[in-house]
């Protein structure tokens, strides 16, 4: 019989509840502030449900009624510079943070709502109604509430989607020398999702001051917690990652407050993250003004039991017991909260002239429809003061250099100049510059800013997103292979790509994502895509794809200076090439809208990027077609150099778009569409294309070659162009 020894987790895990002494010892001002916040949030949520019932809230209204205690208890003690983010059910957390911010953490129960607070309530309600005066200009609505100034990072409609970004915010707080912390709120439904677990691990490994606060309300919509997990005590998650954890009655705001005090001490003192699980109960269904029992997944008796534990009543009862308030006083608090909501509502609604007895949104408050695309990305004005160089025409002396050394070289130069730049990805700090040497030298020069990550693309990409939104750092994320974008798709597209626009269009998202196309390297079906097409069709991202080392320098510098997320695509075929840069100059930019004409010609405009530029040149020489070759450099819709393309196509009347990868996710599809609509009357033949096969490249050398495009495929493409021009068939 083998010998066994019981193992213990290194992380403490406790359940915390209050005693009469705790209430007695609590600061009366704290209790009063909690009671005021609870009533303000309750009145707010009741008003939202009322308006939803009148059909005035477009989309779901996820009520937090019943769950206010968790948010108020955990937030009432926070600083403005502490931050929170949350889920689709986030009104209570947003309001608690905003109220704490404007009231400096103290509410006066006899004069509950001042003008500033009244404004916060109205702007929050306006946002939920989708109106221009809302915190996110009406774009975010109920599920995307953001107010950076108050430390509200933005609530999130993807379950678990906010965890990586909260982790990134905590990184920025810690590495900016503060003792601030971030709380990521999520529900029991998110406690099993990958990005939360990846973020817990990353935060624990890097000792980041982030609290994973799970509001365990027992139901993921209508699925009960026992159906989803073996251990319903969700704070058990901390045990797996070495994170100290607290379990607390969320219907007791003081208990939550005390637990959070303990957790905050760990976080503020450099001890890393915390997990807090608050047991709460939403009195209504997932959304709308009906109880869950109306939908049959729980009983009225269960609801009645929980309602007896209403956090508003609990705090009032304890305060009355301590002689801090009487029942009339509590009623006055509630009356003030309702009056504040009446005032906010009156400013936003009016009697509907077309429908007796009904209300409607005041028509002048809607956003202007022209606002629809404003702020998808910035206007690149941040590049205006930077020195632009065109390597094609710059006559200065050249210095020969391998392409990959220019990649590492320009990054080392920028990191030396700009302490905000942070490089993170798998193995970027080891193997003499990662798997290809693209980060060579960085870990030696800047060990604290060259971060090897766990293999969890969702977490570290999202951490980068959180850093970018915070603004104190400029993250440079590396995906070892482009196909990992699917692993991290939520963070890359739903969060990073949409963050600026979704939250109102104002806040920049300065982030660089580097990845390398590796077609031809034998890595097979799940590693060898070209990501350009996917990013080009996803709003928010800019894309560069340099074909030369000198271009790489200028494009990377522009990417690092932009307030938008930029995908920088590299290619393994280029890394080893002997190339050259402008001697002694690693500081210029190549701004968006600057393509390079690599060869002038009159018969066809060949449009390409990255390694296919050289394949195109070879093919042009082999066929003798007098082609004009445009190297795009900037690939996204906003940054494309239309002027160069249009001038060329008007001359040649034919287009061949050349790329290497699979036809399905290809880049050229949208470009061909755009060209035929802009230039139809200038085209003498269909927009022709060179792409890879439908399939992803296989491991087999022969099949991989058959699946991708190289010089031979461009030759075939040029012959097609020639045939369509009436040349030899």
């Amino acid at each position: 019989m083998p010998r066994q020894r019981r193992l213990e987790s290194t992380a403490p895990w406790v359940e915390l509840s209050t005693t009469a002494a705790d209430w007695k010892n609590a600061d009366p001002a704290l209790l009063a502030t909690m009671l005021g916040q609870l009533h303000l949030i309750r009145a707010f949520e009741e008003r939202v449900l009322e308006l939803a019932g009148e059909g005035l809230v477009h989309g779901p209204a996820h009520s937090s009624i019943g769950q206010e205690g968790g948010a108020v208890g955990s937030i009432v003690g926070l600083r403005t510079t502490d931050a929170v983010n949350g889920s689709h059910r986030g009104h209570h957390q947003f309001l608690a943070k905003a109220i704490t911010h404007v009231s400096q953490g103290k509410l006066d129960l006899t004069s509950l709502v001042d003008d500033t607070l009244q404004g916060v309530l109205q702007r929050t309600l306006a946002e939920i109604l989708g109106l221009a005066q809302g915190f996110c200009a009406g774009r975010g609505g109920s599920m995307h509430l953001q107010w950076f100034e108050a430390g509200a990072l933005g609530t999130n409609a993807i379950v678990g989607g906010g965890a990586p970004m909260a982790t990134g915010n905590a990184y920025a707080q810690k590495h900016s020398g503060t003792t601030d912390l971030t709380i990521n709120y999520f529900g029991d439904g998110a406690a099993q999702i990958g990005s939360v677990l990846e973020s817990m691990n990353l935060a624990a490994a890097w000792k980041l001051p982030v609290c994973f606060f799970v509001e365990n309300n027992l139901y993921a919509v209508a699925t009960r917690i026992e159906e989803s997990v073996a251990d319903t005590r969700l704070s058990v998650r901390g045990q797996g990652f070495g994170i100290p954890s607290w379990r607390v009655d969320g219907m007791d705001p003081l208990a939550v407050h005390l637990a959070m005090e303990q957790a905050a001490e760990v976080m503020r003192s450099g001890g890393g993250p915390a997990v807090v699980e608050a047991e709460v109960y939403r009195f209504f269904h997932q959304n709308g003004p009906y109880p869950g029992s109306a939908f049959g997944y729980r009983t009225k008796e269960e609801e009645a039991e929980w309602k007896k534990r209403d956090p508003l009543d609990r705090v009032a009862r304890e305060m009355i017991k301590l002689g801090l308030i009487d029942e009339a006083g509590v009623q006055q608090v509630r009356d003030q909260a309702i009056a504040a909501m009446d005032a906010a509502t009156d400013n936003l609604l009016e009697a509907d002239p077309d429908s007796q007895g009904k209300r409607r949104i005041r028509p002048e408050l809607w956003p202007d429809p022209d606002f629809v695309d404003v702020g998808v990305r910035g206007d690149a004005s941040e590049l205006a003061e930077l020195r632009a160089v065109e390597p094609l025409t710059d006559t200065r002396e050249r210095e020969s250099m391998k392409f990959v050394d220019a990649v590492a070289g320009v990054m080392e130069r920028r990191m030396g100049e700009d302490e905000r730049i942070l490089v993170l990805g798998e193995d970027v700090h080891r193997l003499k510059g990662g798997t290809n040497g693209a980060t060579k030298g960085l870990a030696t020069a800047f060990p604290e800013r060259t971060l090897g990550t766990p293999i969890s693309e969702n977490a570290f990409a999202g951490l980068g997103g959180g850093l970018a939104l915070d603004g104190r750092f400029v993250p440079v994320i590396e995906f070892m292979y482009p196909d990992f974008l699917w692993v991290a798709a939520d963070q890359v597209f739903n969060q990073i790509g949409k963050a600026r626009h979704m939250f109102g269009g104002q806040n920049p998202v300065p982030l660089v994502l580097r990845t390398k196309v590796a077609m031809g390297s034998g890595y097979g079906s799940q590693h060898l895509m070209d990501p350009a097409g996917i990013f080009a069709t996803s709003a928010g991202w800019r894309i560069v794809a340099p074909s030369t080392a000198a271009d790489y320098v200028g494009l990377m510098n522009a990417a690092l200076a932009l307030g938008d997320p930029v995908l920088v695509i590299e290619h393994v075929d280029l890394y080893g090439e002997k190339d050259e840069i402008i001697a002694g100059d690693l500081d210029y930019i190549i701004p968006p809208g600057n393509a390079a004409v690599r060869r002038e010609g009159k018969d066809v405009t060949v449009i390409s990027y990255l390694s296919m530029v050289k394949h195109s040149l070879e093919a042009i020489e082999q066929t003798g077609v007098d082609a004009e070759l445009i190297d795009l450099r900037w690939l996204d819709r906003a940054s494309l150099d239309w002027e160069t393309i249009e001038t060329s196509v008007k001359k040649t009347n034919a287009v061949l778009i050349v790329e290497q990868g699979a036809v399905g996710t290809s880049y050229g599809g949208w470009l061909a569409d755009e060209i035929q609509r802009r230039l139809f009357d200038w085209l003498d033949q269909p927009v022709q294309r060179v792409t890879g096969a439908e399939s992803s490249p296989s491991i087999s050398r022969v099949l991989e070659r058959a699946a991708i495009a190289r010089t031979e495929e461009v030759v075939a493409g040029l012959e097609t162009v020639r045939r369509h021009a009436g040349g030899a068939a």
Binding site: N653, V663, Q685, A693, E694, A716, R723, H724
Partner: protein, 461 residues
């Protein structure tokens, strides 16, 4: 496997046409490029050449019948093959039997060949004797009629619709080019840029937009020179003779001209004794015969050299100032007329001009003019002198800015230096477009013309 030949769209936007004359008969072997039929549209008679080699199995339409563009006109196939369609074939065969061609992974156009092939092989025999029931030529219909495996894509033109690249369409519109005779060299016979490069070079003003309605049609003097219908008994109902395409075109275009072009008229008499003497001398000496009309046309060109600013035409976008003198010559036909254009008259010798006019007139009467030979020009000459007409005024043939109506030279008393003598006099009437020419300009031009005619050596100079 037989191929259905469909009525081609020989002119853009023409919806119907007629086989004026079959140049082959059922049973004939034909080769690609061989003249196949003469197709008559409202503007021109075009020789249609075979695009498929084989044996003519059946001609589906009678000469003269108007049918829709795209409707079947003949079936070509292997000798001995039956032209009779298997009655149920076209509709009964489900489209799904067309085997799918699996796209080649490395072919960037992988999906294209399937569609092209299906459209291109209307392989079952077309209904042989019932053009009325023939399927339309639209691409969508073709695949369902296919009951045999799709043939590999070829560059053989698809019957029924001419393919023209967007660029060529735009250029043709802007330069007033006719693409009727252009052979497309792109896939499926698509007309592409290289196919019209020569035309573009020839176009009168390649850089300026041409007037909206290129003139390929008859102008002016339209002396409907029809012989009267066979005598009919008094009181009989008039016989309704259907309009020919040409008649419809003459009616339409001349009505438009009279409605839209503000005409004004100037008349002059020219002494032509010296001109006639010179002509007699030339014709006595040379092998080439020169007509009075040739000299008149040459004098017109000379007058434009004297008053170059008159060589201009109106367009909505601006005045088109022409360099070359391109003159339309009205040629009467048995029932109708055509106005071929002689280009660069100022640079032609009289004999070369005469030869060109003779060639154009002959081909015009034979219906062999190409549409581009009837388009453009800044001026026209209509001469009815040979009929003894003393003077007349003609209708301008847009976009031209003027037309000179030339009457017969006749002997009449003239006063020279106060003395009466007998002289040969020719009356001419200039019709001018007041949008392009003002009265004084027209008068100066006409004076220059008269001077050239009366000093005929200047015509030759």
């Amino acid at each position: 496997m037989s191929t259905t030949i469909r009525m081609p769209e020989v002119l853009a936007n023409v919806t119907e046409a007629a086989v004026q004359k079959w140049l082959v008969a059922a049973g004939d072997e034909i080769a690609v490029g061989q003249p196949f039929a003469e197709i008559e549209t409202e503007k021109a008679v075009v020789e249609y050449t075979a695009e498929t080699a084989g044996t003519v199995l059946e001609l589906l339409v009678a000469e003269g019948d108007s049918i829709d563009v795209g409707a079947p006109i003949a079936v070509v196939g292997q000798a001995g093959e039956s032209a009779e369609p298997e009655p149920a074939a076209p509709d009964a065969e489900p489209a799904a039997e067309t085997p799918a061609v699996s796209p080649s992974a490395t072919d960037p156009e992988s999906a294209a060949p399937v569609a092209e092939a299906a459209v291109q092989s209307p392989s079952s025999p077309a209904p042989a004797s019932a053009p009325a029931a023939a399927p339309s030529a639209s691409a969508a219909d073709a695949p369902s009629a296919s009951s045999t495996p799709a043939a590999p894509a070829t560059d053989e033109p698809t019957a029924g619709r001419r393919f023209i690249s967007p660029l060529v369409r735009r250029l043709a519109r802007e330069h007033g080019l006719s693409l009727d005779e252009v052979q497309g060299s792109g896939p499926d016979g698509r007309i592409v840029r290289r196919d019209i490069e020569a035309l573009l070079t020839d176009a009168p003003s390649a850089s300026a937009p041409a007037p909206a309605s290129p003139a390929s049609a008859p102008p002016a003097s339209a002396p409907a020179q029809t012989s009267p219908p066979a005598a009919t008994a008094p009181g009989a109902e008039p016989e309704l003779v259907p309009h020919s395409r040409m008649r419809k075109t003459i009616a339409r275009r001349l009505t438009e001209s009279k409605n839209q072009v503000p005409h004004f008229y100037l008349t002059a008499d020219c002494r032509v004794d010296a001109l006639l003497a010179m002509r007699a001398e030339i014709n006595a000496a040379g092998t080439v015969k020169v007509s009075v009309n040739d000299l008149v046309v040459k004098a017109v060109a000379g007058a434009f050299r004297d008053v170059p600013e008159a060589n201009r035409t109106w367009s909505d976008d601006g005045m088109l100032q022409h360099g070359s003198v391109d003159i339309g010559i009205a040629v009467s036909l048995d029932d109708g007329l055509v106005v071929p254009i002689v280009r660069g008259v100022e640079g032609l010798s009289v004999s070369a001009l005469g030869a060109q006019i003779a060639d154009l007139a002959e081909r015009g009467r034979g219906g062999k003019l190409r549409p581009d030979e009837m388009e453009g020009g800044s001026f026209a000459v209509s001469n009815l002198g040979m009929f003894g007409t003393q003077s007349f005024s003609a209708i301008i043939n847009p976009p031209q800015a003027g037309i000179l109506a030339v009457g017969a030279a006749r002997q009449m008393p003239v006063v020279v230096d106060g003395a009466l003598e007998v002289g040969s006099v020719m009356s001419v009437t200039l019709s001018a477009d007041h949008r392009a020419w003002d009265g004084a300009l027209a008068a100066r031009w006409l004076a220059a013309f008269v001077s050239r005619i009366e000093h005929p050596l200047t015509i030759l100079a």
